[in-house]
């Protein structure tokens, strides 16, 4: 369970989050819904450990993982993150991108997971291509595979379907929902699109001006 208690974060004079308290139970599928600049991405980055809170604490299973004085590094949080721009490393092939977070596993286990994910995401045919050589939809599938590969306890999605057409978005929404259900991971999905939020989440939390409004 992830608990946020009075978490605040500012960038210069701009308050991005103001005293946000939130409990995310294990296996929950939560969507953070709000307009651009409402602070939802900042909240996601704080959960991931990519930002340091100015005030308040974030705990995981009772252990403080973020406070103004201490931040547990992201890789020690058992999280998978799907970024808005896919953020695939351009000098690595699709396979290498997916395998990157698996080096703690034996080689056979790595290959097994890779093959399973390539098949599950229907990207086997592009496994040796570089990110420059694949489409936007394929890139999102690879990003999802990379996030799922280490089998994280929590999956974080930051507007992963931005700039995709309706058909592609619907396909990927189904894929995300099914993948999250299969893995049983806790999911936090940030979006400004109500339709996306309803498709993937069982709880929708509305955000505006750095606070939870509903």
């Amino acid at each position: 369970m992830i608990e946020l208690e009075d978490v605040s974060k500012s960038f210069g004079n701009y308050p991005a989050l103001s005293k946000v308290s939130l409990t995310i139970p294990d296996h929950a599928r939560i969507a953070l819904l709000g307009p651009s600049g409402s602070g939802k991405t900042t909240l996601l980055r704080l959960i991931a450990g990519l930002e340091v809170p100015d005030a308040g604490t974030i705990s995981s299973d009772g252990r403080i993982i973020s406070s103004p004085e201490y931040v547990l590094p992201p890789y020690e949080r058992s999280i998978g993150f799907v970024f808005q721009s896919a953020a695939l490393w351009p000098h690595m092939t699709v396979s290498d991108n997916i395998l990157f977070g698996l080096d703690h596993l034996p080689e056979t286990e790595q290959q097994q997971r890779l093959l399973t994910l390539l098949e599950r995401m229907q990207i086997t045919s592009i496994k040796d291509r570089f990110p420059d050589q694949i489409s936007g939809g394929e890139a999102r599938r690879v990003a999802l595979a990379r996030a799922l590969a280490p089998r994280p306890a929590t999956l974080l999605f930051d507007e992963p379907l931005t700039n995709l057409d309706r058909k592609l978005r619907d396909d990927l929404l189904s894929l995300i929902s099914e993948s999250v259900l299969e893995t049983g991971s806790t999911m936090v999905y940030v979006t400004h699109d109500e339709y996306e939020a309803e498709c993937v989440a069982d709880t929708i939390i509305r955000f505006d001006k750095g606070t939870i409004i509903r």
């Binding site: 210069g12 990519l50 490393w89 990157f100």
Partner: protein
């Protein structure tokens, strides 16, 4: 640009006389050539890590970034002889008055003069990279060494290559400060050229200038070929061809 290079080459070849004259002028400057190359390589090795650290500071917002920009830009505004005089004054002061190896001072002046340029090149490279690529590395990598060797350095490789090429070229051509700080018995190619100029040895001067031009072109070609290899490896060129 090709015409410019061709005119330069033709002029230098004509002035340097025969192939034998060129070879003899270069072979007589063997020590200086070696000293110059060692200086350039050391300047690259020392400057790149410093420049990379500075480039990250330049990216920071607020006062910290502003101070970094001032620290990077001010050395560029100081004339070369003044850098040399400053270095000599500093090194012969009471705190640092110890013996030092012959390469140290020429390397230090070149680092202080040219590392800021490398920092600006790497800053531009960093600005072009999606910061989420580094965030992704932080999320998926358990090891800082792995993050640096497999993500950060490959992503920064084009900037590092360009910066190394420019550092090499500028160091090879440095004279204003090196002339002041080079210890007795040590000289760079440009210092030898400068000395020859006093005696009107046009053929020797042209031969050595040709040598510097060739070395610069080799460094430039090496950097360009490495960049092409990097882009080929990541598929960028293939994609352009497919279109």
């Amino acid at each position: 640009m090709l015409i410019q290079i061709a005119v330069l080459f033709f002029g230098l070849i004509t002035t340097s006389g025969s192939w034998d004259t060129f070879v003899s002028s270069v072979s007589r400057a063997g020590n200086e050539l070696q000293f110059s190359l060692m200086t350039a390589v050391l300047v690259i090795l020392i400057s790149l890590p410093l420049a990379l650290a500075a480039a990250y500071e330049l990216k920071k917002p607020g006062l910290r970034g502003t101070i970094a920009w001032i620290l990077v830009l001010v050395p560029l505004a100081i004339p070369a002889p003044l850098v040399g005089i400053g270095m000599v004054t500093l090194w012969y002061g009471p705190l640092l008055a110890v013996p030092y190896p012959g390469l140290l001072m020429p390397v230090l002046v070149a680092v202080s003069r040219f590392a800021p340029i490398a920092a600006i090149i790497l800053f531009v490279q960093l600005r072009f990279l999606d910061p989420l690529l580094f965030d992704a590395a932080a999320v998926f990598s358990k090891s800082q060494v792995k993050t640096w060797t497999q993500i950060r350095l490959p992503l920064l490789a084009p900037g590092l290559l360009v910066a190394a090429g420019i550092l090499f070229t500028l160091t090879l051509a440095e004279l204003g400060a090196t002339l002041i700080v080079a210890p007795p018995g040590h000289a760079t190619l440009t210092m030898r050229i400068y000395n020859y100029l006093h005696y009107g040895a046009a053929g020797e001067v042209a031969g050595l200038c040709l040598m510097i031009t060739i070395l610069t072109l080799i460094a430039g070609t090496g950097a360009i070929l490495s960049l092409r290899w990097l882009y080929n490896r990541s598929g960028t060129f293939q994609r352009v061809e497919e279109r």
